[in-house]
Symmetry: C2
Subunit: 204 residues, 2 copies
DNA sequence: AGACTTATCTACCACTCGTTACAAAAGTTG
DNA sequence: CAACTTTTGTAACGAGTGGTAGATAAGTCT
């Protein structure tokens, strides 16, 4: 098919390894030496395939989003706004403590602050985090139109609240909190969420 | 008084400048060049006074905790558990968007993930974050004993929830969210908090 | 004054960073 | 086969990293 010497490594497997390194050490903390070792390739192969360290991160972020999209679709398919919130928080509690990955969220661990020369990385990550909030807001706007949220509810505020709690759970998981701790936070958070179309009841 | 040549810079002023650099760029992202320039001193003075880059961070963290202690004392003096929660979230919304400081929380911005040679930094920051949760938990345990929380309430879970939301607000502020956005999150979060000793009402 | 103690500055250390020439290797195409 | 195209490994690039000698300056002590 394609001409020239064929690539000796699997791009997707390599991206998975790179993702793990960025996840565990952050963008600045992840060195080319770590990345190339984990990916099992040498620097020239990395640069030929991804352009730069930043290009590699973006490719890894794309793959991360791709992985998450199935979960997010399931979350948004919740019958009611409250179902959606419950699914969202539960899925976060599980995924952020999945032993197959570093703890927390790549979009948070990747880097909230970076050094000289990578100042744009935090923006990139923030933009990807905002994506989730946008999806939730859209779903909650629909829920309000469907009469699925009480009158006084603010769909945008609820979406931002959930997304903020998710970020907080990322920080918590990154500190070594176990799955049960995250589930507890999810449970308490859900009490802030309006029930059906009426008023709430006894929160925890 | 003390013998030898007197120090030509003010330790506390220098620490404030260093704090700002760590806050804005994270531990790994903050280079000695940035730090010495901001502090207005040369590397040997820095090392004589603080021992190492890590020593400087810890000194800055101590100063950060000192600054916050007054706010935290005010928060814990709230009459009821709900007052405490309200004061806590409000104070976080204000302080994390204080234009006098970089956005967010130093204990989050400082570094959730670090590179080789500074793997212990995230632990240090996590330990300091846990301090706040511990203080809240202590206050809520007292509140329960005073009959200030409903029967089924879990003081530890509530403390962890608030501390998690605070971390999330740090991430949000770091993404450029304005003060009003954080206040909104605080308001919604408070709906998860039990009212008085009875059941809750219509949340937002 | 002179001995002593501590801080400051200039210059530099060994090392690591992200990135890239260059040539050899491994394929496809005529 | 030879021409072409792309990938791979070795080795290195300049720039910047955290950290430090060693000399000098600026004070206090006897």
């Amino acid at each position: 098919m394609t001409m020239g010497r064929p690539r000796a490594f699997c791009t997707e497997k390599a991206l998975d390894e790179a993702m793990e390194v960025f996840w565990r050490h952050g963008y600045d903390g992840a060195t080319l030496a770590m990345l190339t070792k984990a990916m099992g390739i040498k620097p020239p192969s990395l640069y030929a395939a991804f352009g730069s360290k930043e290009g590699l991160l973006k490719a890894a972020l794309d793959r991360y989003a791709e992985r998450r999209s199935a979960h997010m679709r399931y979350v948004l398919e919740g019958a009611t706004a409250r179902d959606v919130a419950e699914r969202f928080l539960s899925s976060i509690a599980e995924s952020h403590t999945d032993p197959a990955n570093p703890p927390g969220c790549l979009l948070v661990q990747g880097g909230l602050a970076c050094g000289a020369g990578s100042e744009n990385i935090p923006f990139e990550l923030a933009a990807r985090r905002a994506q989730t909030e946008t999806e939730l807001r859209g779903r909650f706007l629909r829920a309000r139109d469907e009469g699925d949220l009480p009158e006084g509810s603010d769909p945008a505020a609820l979406a931002r609240f959930l997304s903020t709690v998710a970020s907080g759970m990322g920080v918590l998981a990154s500190s070594g909190a176990d799955r049960e701790a995250l589930r507890e936070v999810a449970r308490v958070s859900l009490a802030a969420f309006p029930r059906g179309r009426g008023a709430g009841e006894a929160p925890a």
